[in-house]
């Protein structure tokens, strides 16, 4: 945990509590510890039928843990839950489901090869399977909540938003009393977010308690009846009229005055964007993609003749809905995949067939989109992860000089503001923001760095960490590093990048200067319509 040690609990006063529906689910004095790490402490909260109850908080605040306790994935270390007045201590998710608690996870649990109807019936049906009758039943249910659904489409062909709808219908089929949605809007297009929020409202109106985890304030403004803010595992604020109290909620979430409220992130980043009149960065090309194409194993073209050149000191943003070739481009630049066609260069060197080690040696830093699977090894220590690709520098007769490694690790930890109990703690125990800072520390210290790929560098990070991450990337650019910044948050790209290319179905669909006036045009391109 971080070292500040000061936790002020500023509870927003609630004048005249609205007479809400009776509580469905109450949590009293709930605490949850993992080893010595206290994830939640002294949580009192209640969810009532008919309300959309948002859980707001930075990453690592304990929102997901709280959901997992309700859904029976974890058991509370202390405290008790009651469901409709009866003791509720689920032994696992199946028990929770049986008691009327359903949850839509961030990661979908659907079988892509099967049809929608088969996914929905999976596990829930017995004996003879009458798909047509079931499909009618499900369509009726979907219609009730305004969820358009094609029962006989194959899930793999659906968009992310449509898949999420399938997940929601899967939950609604059980007629739950409590529906939990863990950051449901993180993967959606702006249009889709709107309809999801409408669905949430309708489900709540049917008498169900909808619990939605989010850190997007605009969504809270639109849909939340009540908000509970978590900060470092404790309730830091509650509000019955969230739409009117956004600034107070923000400051309760980040525990510092919200000067810029909802625009805080973008504002903070934009400030960093103004280039100081310092020495000009070294000129020249940092990275070049020359007609790069990539076919996946099944022969589907994921990248199609992408040509792009990045100057030193320049930040180029890649906008686009996820799954339009960004991951494949990331894998190629990391040396984990080879282009089917075309070539790419960094600093004039052809790296098309290069190994990850050669790529690193050519001054290329990679912040992969999946920092758990590709960027780090959770069970190794922070110090080991800081030098994962450069451990040899500590070699003495083939043995690791741990003393020198620790010294250097402590230096990095300080320079990059990684907050951890020490250099030897397991990397996996750090919060997302600190993990990302550590990955950045490693990649930004690549010798002779001239190109950096930063793929989704702020995913799942809180406002404070986002500021730090973009500050570091900015600094690198000022020192002459060319940056390719892939993000699904268009506002962040506009704030940070110099220009933006839009990926759609593996092609560059267009390019714009990073200026808010082009926001709509970029959004249109992202959705596949021509501008």
């Amino acid at each position: 945990m971080d070292g500040s040690g000061i936790v002020t609990e500023t509870v927003v006063p609630v004048p005249g509590t609205r007479a809400a529906a009776p509580s469905l689910l109450t949590m009293n004095g709930i605490g949850k510890s993992f080893g010595s790490f206290v994830a939640l402490a002294g949580i009192d909260i209640d969810f009532a039928g008919g309300e959309v109850h948002c859980l707001l908080g930075e990453n690592g605040a304990g929102k997901s843990t709280l959901c997992n306790l309700v859904f029976g994935i974890h058991r509370p270390s202390e405290g008790a839950m009651r469901l409709k007045g009866e003791a509720y201590a689920p032994s696992g998710p199946s028990d929770a489901l049986a008691r009327g608690i359903a949850m839509v996870h961030q990661h979908f649990s659907l079988v892509n090869e099967l049809t929608v109807i088969d996914n929905l019936l999976m596990g829930g049906s017995r004996g003879r399977l009458d798909r047509k009758a079931e499909a009618r039943r499900i369509e009726a249910l979907a219609e009730e909540f305004g969820l358009a659904l094609a029962p006989f489409a194959t899930v793999g062909d659906l968009s992310v938003g449509e898949r999420q709808r399938v997940e929601i219908v899967k939950c609604l089929m059980r007629r739950p009393q409590v529906l939990i949605l863990d950051e449901p809007t993180a993967v959606l297009l702006p249009d889709e977010i709107g309809s999801l929020l409408t669905v949430c409202r309708q489900v709540a109106d049917s008498g169900c308690a909808v619990v939605m985890v989010t850190h997007k304030l605009a969504e809270i403004e639109r849909v939340a009846d009540r908000v509970t803010v978590l900060h470092r595992g404790r309730v830091s604020a509650r509000s019955d009229r969230p739409a009117e109290e956004i600034p107070a909620l923000v400051s309760a979430m980040i525990q510092r005055p919200a000067a810029r409220s909802g625009e805080a992130v973008v504002g903070a980043i934009a400030l960093a964007k103004r280039k100081p009149a310092g020495p000009r960065p070294p000129a020249g090309e940092a990275m070049q993609l020359d007609g790069v194409s990539f076919d996946d194993r099944t022969g589907v073209r994921r990248l199609d003749a992408v040509t792009l050149s990045i100057e030193r000191g320049e930040i180029v943003g890649v906008a686009g809905v996820e799954g339009n070739g960004q991951s494949e481009l990331g894998a190629i630049l990391a040396g984990l995949a080879r282009p089917t066609d075309g070539r790419w260069f960094a600093g004039g060197r052809d790296l098309t067939q290069a190994s990850p080690r050669e790529i690193t040696r050519s001054g290329v830093g990679i912040v992969p989109e999946d920092r758990h699977a590709v960027g780090s090894i959770g069970k190794l220590s922070l110090a080991d992860n800081l030098f994962l690709n450069r451990m040899r520098q500590f070699s003495r007769l083939g043995l690791i000089d741990r003393r020198r490694q620790m010294e250097k690790a402590r230096d990095y930890i300080q320079r990059f503001d990684v907050r951890a109990a020490g250099a030897t703690v397991a990397f996996g125990s750090l919060s997302g923001g600190n993990q990302q800072k550590a990955v950045l520390a490693r990649e930004l210290t690549t010798p002779n760095l001239r190109f950096l790929l930063a793929a989704q560098p702020t995913r799942g990070l809180d406002i404070g960490a986002i500021e730090t991450v973009y500050g570091l990337i900015r600094d690198a650019a000022e020192e002459g590093v060319g940056v390719l910044l892939v993000s699904s948050e268009l506002d962040e790209l506009i704030a940070v990048a110099d220009r933006i290319v839009v990926f759609y179905r593996g092609r560059i669909a267009g390019e714009y200067p990073a200026d808010p006036v082009h926001r709509e045009a970029i959004g249109t391109l992202m959705s596949g319509r021509s501008a």
């Binding site: 270390s77 984990l336 190994s355 990850p356 080991d384 690709n389 741990r402």
Partner: protein
């Protein structure tokens, strides 16, 4: 911000103590079951125990035989731990021992080897056995890297191939079978020359602990150091924990896998060489008789600790010797030892599961 724990979690042992109590408790429990089984067989317990003691610790010869057995098991177990560090499960110890034995025999019997000076007469065949076992292990690594064959399957199947190669080589005069002078000539190799035998520490056949023991100590110490402190050990660990991240970090994942299985196999091969040149002196069809699988169990139980490997190997080494003696002296089937080993494995693995789960929740 300390939160008083009022939960009903069971009291937890400190990890070090739990790590020690667990195996000891499991062994004692298994012994108790064994005692009950012996009585159920109608054999007086005292008689059986006397026979067991005689076989395991009765005299210098018995102790030496148990130690030699333990050395072989510990080598296989050390190899298992090496591979396990890279996330690999080497179940091919039996085959790696077999090819080691065949290679050692072939080299010992090759012309000129017996006359080599400076101990090379026994070192060269031992080295050959080590390399042969290593190649046998690396083969599985190569298959995994190239075509993705699961090493559990490939090392096991390669074991069958190796064991039948051994049968073939002692059945065919064109290979290693001794010349057939009569129909009673046994299907085994010629005895190896005395100079190619691994020297005994005491120099006396009445207490035949071989040079394998100090060799094992060195290998175990080096392995422990390499795994915990070296760059290579770090890379193996990275590959074992997350091959994709390891690859991105520039670690040669394929080479690490092949190397780890080579080393695992090499230790099995060395065990085979020591068994042949230090104990059996001629290659027979039943050369290994389960050492590879016992060694695998030792490695599994040690849970990645070299010290654990040594302890487990000693336990199983003495258990086997005692068990054989019990069968001969008190007519308790030596299969009882298999039962006890099985019980120990199940108890420790089961208890470990609960301990680990306790840590995670």
């Amino acid at each position: 911000m300390s939160v008083a724990s009022r939960s009903a979690a069971p009291p937890r042992l400190p990890p070090g103590l739990a790590g020690l109590l667990l195996p000891v408790g499991a062994v004692l429990a298994a012994f108790a079951v064994g005692a009950v089984a012996i009585m159920a067989l109608g054999v007086p317990l005292g008689e059986a125990l006397t026979a067991f003691w005689r076989g395991a610790f009765g005299n210098a010869y018995a102790i030496s035989a148990s130690i030699n057995r333990a050395v072989a098991l510990a080598l296989v177990g050390t190899g298992f731990v090496f591979a396990a560090r890279a996330g690999l499960t080497n179940v091919g110890g039996e085959g790696q021992i077999a090819v080691g034995g065949v290679a050692a025999t072939a080299i010992c019997l090759a012309p000129g080897i017996a006359d080599l000076p400076l101990g090379l007469a026994f070192l060269v065949p031992l080295l050959g056995a080590t390399l042969a076992g290593g190649v046998w292990g690396a083969l599985a690594g190569f298959l995994k890297v190239r075509v993705g064959t699961n090493e559990v399957i490939s090392t096991l199947l390669l074991s069958f191939i190796a064991v039948w190669l051994l049968y073939w080589s002692v059945q065919s005069e064109a290979l290693l079978r001794q010349p057939m002078t009569s129909s009673a000539t046994l299907p085994e190799s010629l005895p190896i020359p005395v100079t190619t035998q691994v020297p005994l520490l005491t120099g006396s056949y009445s207490s035949p602990v071989t040079l394998g023991l100090p060799l094992l100590v060195v290998i175990a110490a080096v392995t422990a150091l390499v795994l915990s402190r070296s760059i290579f050990g770090f890379q193996l660990k990275a590959v074992g924990l997350n091959p994709v991240a390891a690859a991105r970090a520039g670690i040669a994942v394929g080479a690490s896998i092949v190397t780890a299985l080579f080393l695992a196999g090499a230790m099995g091969g060395l065990a085979g060489g020591l068994m042949l040149q230090g104990e059996q002196y001629s290659l027979k069809a039943g050369f290994s008789s389960g050492y590879g699988f016992d060694g695998l169990v030792v490695g599994l139980l040690a849970r990645n600790s070299i010290a654990g490997v040594i302890a487990g190997a000693l336990l199983f080494g003495f258990l086997r010797s005692g068990g054989i003696s019990m069968e001969m002296g008190a007519s308790v089937p030596s299969a009882l030892i298999d039962v006890l080993q099985g019980l120990i494995v199940v108890t420790i693995a089961g208890a470990a599961y609960y301990v680990d789960r306790g840590d995670r929740k």
